[in-house]
Protein backbone atom coordinates (compact mmCIF):
# COMPACT_ATOMS: atom_id res chain seq x y z
CA UNK A 1 0.00 0.00 0.00
CA UNK A 2 2.83 2.31 0.97
CA UNK A 3 4.70 1.51 -2.24
CA UNK A 4 1.56 1.99 -4.27
CA UNK A 5 1.02 5.40 -2.70
CA UNK A 6 4.59 6.45 -3.43
CA UNK A 7 4.54 5.12 -6.96
CA UNK A 8 1.32 6.79 -8.05
CA UNK A 9 1.28 9.99 -6.04
CA UNK A 10 4.84 11.06 -5.27
CA UNK A 11 8.05 11.56 -7.27
CA UNK A 12 10.15 8.48 -6.54
CA UNK A 13 12.87 6.31 -8.05
CA UNK A 14 10.24 3.73 -9.01
CA UNK A 15 8.40 6.22 -11.23
CA UNK A 16 11.41 8.07 -12.62
CA UNK A 17 10.86 10.94 -10.16
CA UNK A 18 7.44 11.88 -11.43
CA UNK A 19 4.19 10.67 -9.80
CA UNK A 20 2.82 7.86 -11.95
CA UNK A 21 -0.53 9.67 -12.20
CA UNK A 22 1.27 12.52 -13.99
CA UNK A 23 2.83 10.21 -16.57
CA UNK A 24 1.60 10.51 -20.14
CA UNK A 25 -0.22 7.18 -20.12
CA UNK A 26 -2.02 7.99 -16.87
CA UNK A 27 -3.10 11.42 -18.12
CA UNK A 28 -4.46 9.82 -21.28
CA UNK A 29 -6.31 7.14 -19.29
CA UNK A 30 -7.90 9.77 -17.01
CA UNK A 31 -8.92 11.93 -19.98
CA UNK A 32 -10.45 8.99 -21.87
CA UNK A 33 -12.19 7.74 -18.71
CA UNK A 34 -13.86 11.13 -18.24
CA UNK A 35 -15.07 11.17 -21.85
CA UNK A 36 -16.36 7.61 -21.45
CA UNK A 37 -18.06 8.50 -18.18
CA UNK A 38 -19.80 11.50 -19.74
CA UNK A 39 -21.28 9.24 -22.45
CA UNK A 40 -22.29 6.73 -19.76
CA UNK A 41 -24.06 9.53 -17.87
CA UNK A 42 -25.94 10.62 -21.00
CA UNK A 43 -26.94 7.04 -21.75
CA UNK A 44 -28.12 6.45 -18.16
CA UNK A 45 -30.16 9.69 -18.10
CA UNK A 46 -31.92 8.64 -21.32
CA UNK A 47 -32.55 5.11 -20.08
CA UNK A 48 -33.60 5.62 -16.47
CA UNK A 49 -33.97 8.99 -14.76
CA UNK A 50 -34.62 7.31 -11.44
CA UNK A 51 -30.94 6.41 -11.36
CA UNK A 52 -29.38 9.60 -12.70
CA UNK A 53 -31.22 12.90 -13.00
CA UNK A 54 -31.86 16.19 -11.30
CA UNK A 55 -32.88 16.12 -7.65
CA UNK A 56 -34.48 19.20 -6.17
CA UNK A 57 -36.85 20.29 -3.42
CA UNK A 58 -38.38 23.53 -4.65
CA UNK A 59 -42.12 23.91 -4.30
CA UNK A 60 -44.59 26.80 -4.61
CA UNK A 61 -45.97 26.47 -1.08
CA UNK A 62 -42.57 26.81 0.51
CA UNK A 63 -41.63 29.66 -1.84
CA UNK A 64 -44.84 31.47 -0.86
CA UNK A 65 -44.26 30.97 2.87
CA UNK A 66 -40.67 32.20 2.63
CA UNK A 67 -41.65 35.20 0.49
CA UNK A 68 -44.40 36.19 2.93
CA UNK A 69 -42.02 35.79 5.87
CA UNK A 70 -39.70 38.34 4.26
CA UNK A 71 -42.63 40.66 3.54
CA UNK A 72 -44.06 40.39 7.05
CA UNK A 73 -40.68 41.22 8.55
CA UNK A 74 -41.07 44.59 6.84
CA UNK A 75 -44.72 44.98 7.80
CA UNK A 76 -45.99 44.33 4.28
CA UNK A 77 -49.20 42.47 3.49
CA UNK A 78 -48.68 38.81 2.56
CA UNK A 79 -49.13 37.76 -1.05
CA UNK A 80 -51.83 35.31 -2.05
CA UNK A 81 -51.23 32.37 -4.36
CA UNK A 82 -53.10 32.95 -7.62
CA UNK A 83 -53.77 30.12 -10.04
CA UNK A 84 -53.87 32.44 -13.06
CA UNK A 85 -50.41 33.80 -12.24
CA UNK A 86 -49.19 30.25 -11.62
CA UNK A 87 -50.57 29.34 -15.04
CA UNK A 88 -48.79 32.35 -16.54
CA UNK A 89 -45.56 31.21 -14.84
CA UNK A 90 -45.96 27.71 -16.26
CA UNK A 91 -46.58 29.13 -19.75
CA UNK A 92 -43.50 31.30 -19.42
CA UNK A 93 -41.33 28.39 -18.21
CA UNK A 94 -42.53 26.16 -21.07
CA UNK A 95 -41.88 28.95 -23.57
CA UNK A 96 -38.32 29.35 -22.24
CA UNK A 97 -37.62 25.63 -22.66
CA UNK A 98 -39.25 25.41 -26.10
CA UNK A 99 -37.55 28.52 -27.49
CA UNK A 100 -34.39 27.86 -25.48
CA UNK A 101 -33.76 31.27 -23.92
CA UNK A 102 -32.83 32.63 -20.50
CA UNK A 103 -34.35 36.08 -20.44
CA UNK A 104 -37.44 38.02 -19.44
CA UNK A 105 -38.17 38.74 -23.07
CA UNK A 106 -38.27 35.89 -25.61
CA UNK A 107 -36.13 36.06 -28.78
CA UNK A 108 -39.32 36.77 -30.75
CA UNK A 109 -40.10 39.74 -28.48
CA UNK A 110 -42.75 38.06 -26.32
CA UNK A 111 -42.84 39.82 -22.96
CA UNK A 112 -43.87 38.34 -19.57
CA UNK A 113 -47.05 40.42 -19.74
CA UNK A 114 -48.25 38.36 -22.68
CA UNK A 115 -48.25 35.20 -20.54
CA UNK A 116 -49.96 36.94 -17.65
CA UNK A 117 -52.70 38.32 -19.89
CA UNK A 118 -53.04 35.00 -21.73
CA UNK A 119 -53.71 33.31 -18.41
CA UNK A 120 -56.61 35.70 -17.93
CA UNK A 121 -55.04 37.90 -15.28
CA UNK A 122 -55.85 41.56 -15.94
CA UNK A 123 -53.24 43.44 -13.99
CA UNK A 124 -52.53 46.97 -12.93
CA UNK A 125 -49.07 46.06 -11.72
CA UNK A 126 -47.08 43.02 -12.76
CA UNK A 127 -43.56 41.75 -12.28
CA UNK A 128 -41.44 38.70 -12.89
CA UNK A 129 -38.48 37.04 -11.19
CA UNK A 130 -36.56 34.12 -12.66
CA UNK A 131 -34.09 31.66 -11.13
CA UNK A 132 -32.23 28.62 -12.38
CA UNK A 133 -29.81 26.10 -10.97
CA UNK A 134 -31.07 26.18 -7.38
CA UNK A 135 -32.12 22.95 -5.74
CA UNK A 136 -34.03 24.16 -2.66
CA UNK A 137 -36.69 26.82 -1.98
CA UNK A 138 -34.60 28.77 0.60
CA UNK A 139 -31.73 28.98 -1.92
CA UNK A 140 -34.06 30.51 -4.51
CA UNK A 141 -35.49 33.06 -2.07
CA UNK A 142 -32.04 33.95 -0.69
CA UNK A 143 -30.69 34.50 -4.20
CA UNK A 144 -33.57 36.83 -5.06
CA UNK A 145 -33.21 38.66 -1.76
CA UNK A 146 -29.49 39.15 -2.42
CA UNK A 147 -30.23 40.94 -5.68
CA UNK A 148 -31.54 44.49 -5.07
CA UNK A 149 -33.82 44.52 -8.12
CA UNK A 150 -35.37 41.11 -7.36
CA UNK A 151 -35.67 41.99 -3.71
CA UNK A 152 -37.53 45.15 -4.67
CA UNK A 153 -39.94 43.05 -6.73
CA UNK A 154 -40.56 40.57 -3.90
CA UNK A 155 -41.05 43.26 -1.30
CA UNK A 156 -43.09 45.66 -3.39
CA UNK A 157 -46.34 46.85 -1.76
CA UNK A 158 -47.79 47.09 -5.28
CA UNK A 159 -48.44 43.36 -5.49
CA UNK A 160 -51.21 41.28 -3.98
CA UNK A 161 -50.97 38.04 -5.94
CA UNK A 162 -48.21 35.62 -6.78
CA UNK A 163 -47.78 32.49 -8.88
CA UNK A 164 -44.88 30.09 -9.28
CA UNK A 165 -43.78 27.50 -11.81
CA UNK A 166 -40.98 25.03 -11.16
CA UNK A 167 -39.91 23.09 -14.23
CA UNK A 168 -36.99 20.83 -14.97
CA UNK A 169 -35.45 20.61 -18.42
CA UNK A 170 -32.58 21.46 -20.70
CA UNK A 171 -32.08 25.19 -21.09
CA UNK A 172 -29.31 26.53 -23.34
CA UNK A 173 -27.60 23.13 -23.16
CA UNK A 174 -27.85 22.94 -19.38
CA UNK A 175 -29.98 20.39 -17.49
CA UNK A 176 -31.50 22.64 -14.88
CA UNK A 177 -34.44 23.50 -12.66
CA UNK A 178 -36.17 26.72 -13.68
CA UNK A 179 -38.22 28.77 -11.23
CA UNK A 180 -40.57 31.44 -12.58
CA UNK A 181 -42.28 33.84 -10.21
CA UNK A 182 -45.05 36.07 -11.52
CA UNK A 183 -46.31 38.88 -9.31
CA UNK A 184 -49.36 40.97 -9.90
CA UNK A 185 -52.07 43.20 -8.64
CA UNK A 186 -55.41 43.57 -10.33
CA UNK A 187 -58.02 46.01 -9.31
CA UNK A 188 -61.09 46.48 -11.39
CA UNK A 189 -62.41 50.00 -11.79
CA UNK A 190 -66.11 50.03 -11.18
CA UNK A 191 -66.88 53.70 -11.73
CA UNK A 192 -69.57 53.67 -14.38
CA UNK A 193 -68.52 56.99 -15.81
CA UNK A 194 -65.11 55.80 -16.81
CA UNK A 195 -65.87 52.23 -17.67
CA UNK A 196 -66.06 52.84 -21.39
CA UNK A 197 -62.86 54.81 -21.48
CA UNK A 198 -60.75 52.39 -19.50
CA UNK A 199 -59.29 49.94 -21.94
CA UNK A 200 -57.01 47.02 -21.46
CA UNK A 201 -53.56 48.48 -20.75
CA UNK A 202 -51.16 48.29 -23.63
CA UNK A 203 -47.68 49.60 -24.12
CA UNK A 204 -48.88 52.50 -26.24
CA UNK A 205 -51.65 53.88 -24.11
CA UNK A 206 -50.20 53.59 -20.67
CA UNK A 207 -46.95 54.41 -18.98
CA UNK A 208 -44.80 51.32 -18.90
CA UNK A 209 -41.33 50.91 -17.48
CA UNK A 210 -39.54 47.69 -18.17
CA UNK A 211 -36.25 47.25 -16.43
CA UNK A 212 -33.94 44.96 -18.40
CA UNK A 213 -32.81 43.12 -15.31
CA UNK A 214 -35.94 42.77 -13.25
CA UNK A 215 -38.60 43.27 -15.81
CA UNK A 216 -41.00 45.06 -13.54
CA UNK A 217 -43.97 46.50 -15.32
CA UNK A 218 -45.60 49.43 -13.65
CA UNK A 219 -48.71 50.65 -15.29
CA UNK A 220 -50.29 53.89 -14.36
CA UNK A 221 -53.54 55.11 -15.86
CA UNK A 222 -53.17 58.17 -18.09
CA UNK A 223 -53.54 60.97 -15.56
CA UNK A 224 -55.59 63.82 -17.01
CA UNK A 225 -57.63 62.31 -19.78
CA UNK A 226 -59.80 60.30 -17.45
CA UNK A 227 -61.87 61.28 -14.44
CA UNK A 228 -60.51 60.36 -11.04
CA UNK A 229 -61.24 56.75 -10.29
CA UNK A 230 -63.42 56.75 -7.25
CA UNK A 231 -64.07 53.17 -6.33
CA UNK A 232 -61.63 50.36 -6.57
CA UNK A 233 -62.81 46.90 -5.69
CA UNK A 234 -60.47 43.99 -5.35
CA UNK A 235 -61.38 41.07 -7.52
CA UNK A 236 -62.02 37.77 -5.81
CA UNK A 237 -59.09 35.47 -6.27
CA UNK A 238 -59.72 31.87 -7.21
CA UNK A 239 -58.50 29.36 -4.70
CA UNK A 240 -55.95 26.73 -5.66
CA UNK A 241 -56.62 23.10 -5.06
CA UNK A 242 -54.11 20.85 -3.35
CA UNK A 243 -53.75 18.71 -6.46
CA UNK A 244 -52.82 21.74 -8.54
CA UNK A 245 -50.15 22.65 -6.07
CA UNK A 246 -48.82 19.13 -6.09
CA UNK A 247 -48.50 19.20 -9.87
CA UNK A 248 -46.56 22.45 -9.68
CA UNK A 249 -44.44 21.09 -6.89
CA UNK A 250 -43.23 18.18 -8.98
CA UNK A 251 -40.30 16.65 -7.22
CA UNK A 252 -37.90 14.16 -8.61
CA UNK A 253 -35.47 12.16 -6.51
CA UNK A 254 -33.06 10.12 -8.59
CA UNK A 255 -30.41 7.95 -7.00
CA UNK A 256 -27.64 10.26 -8.20
CA UNK A 257 -28.06 14.00 -8.73
CA UNK A 258 -26.40 14.51 -12.13
CA UNK A 259 -25.30 18.18 -11.88
CA UNK A 260 -23.84 17.64 -8.41
CA UNK A 261 -22.07 14.41 -9.46
CA UNK A 262 -20.62 16.11 -12.54
CA UNK A 263 -19.37 19.05 -10.50
CA UNK A 264 -17.87 16.88 -7.75
CA UNK A 265 -16.10 14.46 -10.08
CA UNK A 266 -14.70 17.23 -12.31
CA UNK A 267 -13.55 19.27 -9.30
CA UNK A 268 -12.06 16.16 -7.64
CA UNK A 269 -9.97 15.31 -10.73
CA UNK A 270 -8.67 18.87 -10.99
CA UNK A 271 -7.88 19.13 -7.27
CA UNK A 272 -5.97 15.82 -7.31
CA UNK A 273 -3.93 16.91 -10.35
CA UNK A 274 -3.24 20.30 -8.75
CA UNK A 275 -2.10 18.68 -5.48
CA UNK A 276 0.16 16.25 -7.37
CA UNK A 277 1.73 19.10 -9.34
CA UNK A 278 2.33 21.20 -6.22
CA UNK A 279 3.77 18.23 -4.27
CA UNK A 280 5.94 17.45 -7.31
CA UNK A 281 7.39 20.97 -7.29
CA UNK A 282 8.16 20.81 -3.56
CA UNK A 283 9.80 17.36 -3.56
CA UNK A 284 11.83 17.88 -6.73
CA UNK A 285 13.02 21.22 -5.38
CA UNK A 286 14.06 19.70 -2.04
CA UNK A 287 15.81 16.73 -3.59
CA UNK A 288 17.35 18.92 -6.32
CA UNK A 289 16.47 16.44 -9.05
CA UNK A 290 17.11 17.57 -12.61
CA UNK A 291 14.43 16.63 -15.14
CA UNK A 292 13.61 17.63 -18.69
CA UNK A 293 9.94 18.39 -18.31
CA UNK A 294 7.39 21.12 -18.84
CA UNK A 295 6.83 23.76 -16.16
CA UNK A 296 4.47 22.58 -13.45
CA UNK A 297 3.54 26.18 -12.77
CA UNK A 298 1.99 26.42 -16.27
CA UNK A 299 -0.26 23.48 -15.54
CA UNK A 300 -1.14 24.83 -12.10
CA UNK A 301 -2.30 28.13 -13.61
CA UNK A 302 -4.25 26.31 -16.33
CA UNK A 303 -6.02 23.83 -14.01
CA UNK A 304 -6.68 26.46 -11.32
CA UNK A 305 -8.60 28.58 -13.85
CA UNK A 306 -10.62 25.51 -14.91
CA UNK A 307 -11.42 24.72 -11.27
CA UNK A 308 -12.56 28.29 -10.69
CA UNK A 309 -14.80 28.10 -13.77
CA UNK A 310 -16.43 24.88 -12.49
CA UNK A 311 -17.05 26.35 -9.05
CA UNK A 312 -18.56 29.53 -10.47
CA UNK A 313 -20.68 27.92 -13.16
CA UNK A 314 -22.38 25.57 -10.70
CA UNK A 315 -23.84 28.47 -8.79
CA UNK A 316 -27.45 29.17 -9.61
CA UNK A 317 -28.46 32.37 -11.36
CA UNK A 318 -31.29 34.84 -11.12
CA UNK A 319 -32.76 37.15 -13.72
Amino acid sequence: MHKFFHHYLLPHQSNNHRAKLLHHQSLLVVALSLIGLSFLFSFTVKQDQSVLGISYSVNPEELLILTNQKRQELGLAPLVMNEQLADAARRKASDMFIKNYWSHIAPDGTTPWYFIKSAGYEYVYAGENLARGFYSSPDVINAWMASPSHRENMLSPNYQDIGFAIQEGNLTGDDTVLVVEELGNRTRVTTQAVQEQVVTPTITDIGQEVSPTVSVERITPTPTALPILAVITPVARPSISQSQLQVAAFKNDPLVNKPVAQKNIAAFVLIVILILLIVDIIIIRRKRIARILSHNMDHIIFFSVLLLIILLLTRGGVL
Partner: protein
Protein backbone atom coordinates in the same frame (compact mmCIF):
# COMPACT_ATOMS: atom_id res chain seq x y z
CA UNK B 1 11.51 27.80 -7.44
CA UNK B 2 11.36 31.55 -6.80
CA UNK B 3 14.49 32.03 -8.89
CA UNK B 4 12.90 30.04 -11.71
CA UNK B 5 9.71 32.03 -11.36
CA UNK B 6 11.62 35.30 -11.62
CA UNK B 7 13.47 34.04 -14.70
CA UNK B 8 10.19 33.23 -16.43
CA UNK B 9 8.12 35.95 -14.81
CA UNK B 10 7.13 37.59 -18.10
CA UNK B 11 6.15 34.23 -19.50
CA UNK B 12 4.01 33.35 -16.50
CA UNK B 13 2.35 36.76 -16.48
CA UNK B 14 1.39 36.46 -20.15
CA UNK B 15 0.09 32.94 -19.56
CA UNK B 16 -1.90 34.08 -16.52
CA UNK B 17 -3.23 37.04 -18.54
CA UNK B 18 -4.41 34.74 -21.33
CA UNK B 19 -6.08 32.44 -18.84
CA UNK B 20 -7.81 35.37 -17.12
CA UNK B 21 -9.14 36.58 -20.51
CA UNK B 22 -10.44 33.06 -21.14
CA UNK B 23 -11.99 32.98 -17.68
CA UNK B 24 -13.77 36.32 -18.21
CA UNK B 25 -15.10 35.14 -21.58
CA UNK B 26 -16.40 31.92 -20.02
CA UNK B 27 -18.13 33.73 -17.17
CA UNK B 28 -19.70 36.20 -19.62
CA UNK B 29 -20.97 33.29 -21.70
CA UNK B 30 -23.05 32.40 -18.63
CA UNK B 31 -25.26 29.40 -19.17
CA UNK B 32 -24.57 28.89 -22.88
CA UNK B 33 -22.63 25.66 -22.53
CA UNK B 34 -21.61 25.44 -26.17
CA UNK B 35 -20.06 28.90 -25.94
CA UNK B 36 -18.43 28.07 -22.60
CA UNK B 37 -16.88 24.92 -24.05
CA UNK B 38 -15.69 26.83 -27.14
CA UNK B 39 -13.91 29.38 -24.95
CA UNK B 40 -12.33 26.60 -22.87
CA UNK B 41 -11.00 24.92 -26.03
CA UNK B 42 -9.71 28.27 -27.31
CA UNK B 43 -8.07 29.03 -23.98
CA UNK B 44 -6.43 25.57 -23.93
CA UNK B 45 -5.17 26.04 -27.46
CA UNK B 46 -3.44 29.32 -26.52
CA UNK B 47 -2.03 27.71 -23.34
CA UNK B 48 -0.39 24.97 -25.44
CA UNK B 49 0.73 27.33 -28.19
CA UNK B 50 2.32 29.77 -25.75
CA UNK B 51 4.09 26.92 -23.92
CA UNK B 52 5.57 25.64 -27.20
CA UNK B 53 6.73 29.12 -28.19
CA UNK B 54 8.28 29.61 -24.76
CA UNK B 55 10.16 26.29 -24.78
CA UNK B 56 11.23 26.89 -28.38
CA UNK B 57 12.69 30.29 -27.41
CA UNK B 58 14.54 28.65 -24.51
CA UNK B 59 15.85 25.86 -26.78
CA UNK B 60 14.39 23.03 -24.71
CA UNK B 61 11.40 22.06 -26.80
CA UNK B 62 11.35 18.27 -27.11
CA UNK B 63 8.83 15.65 -28.18
CA UNK B 64 8.27 14.76 -24.52
CA UNK B 65 7.41 18.35 -23.64
CA UNK B 66 5.14 18.73 -26.68
CA UNK B 67 3.31 15.56 -25.67
CA UNK B 68 3.03 16.60 -22.04
CA UNK B 69 1.39 19.96 -22.79
CA UNK B 70 -0.87 18.24 -25.30
CA UNK B 71 -2.00 15.66 -22.74
CA UNK B 72 -2.51 18.30 -20.04
CA UNK B 73 -4.64 20.25 -22.54
CA UNK B 74 -6.60 17.12 -23.48
CA UNK B 75 -7.16 16.37 -19.80
CA UNK B 76 -8.42 19.92 -19.17
CA UNK B 77 -10.80 19.72 -22.14
CA UNK B 78 -12.00 16.26 -21.05
CA UNK B 79 -12.78 17.52 -17.55
CA UNK B 80 -14.78 20.42 -18.96
CA UNK B 81 -16.48 18.17 -21.51
CA UNK B 82 -17.58 15.86 -18.70
CA UNK B 83 -18.69 18.79 -16.54
CA UNK B 84 -20.63 20.60 -19.26
CA UNK B 85 -22.25 17.65 -21.00
Amino acid sequence: MIKKFNTHRGYYLILAGMQIVGFVLVINAGYDKTLVFSYVVLSTFFYMLWAYVHHFIHHDLSTKIVLEYMLMGVLGISVMFFFLR
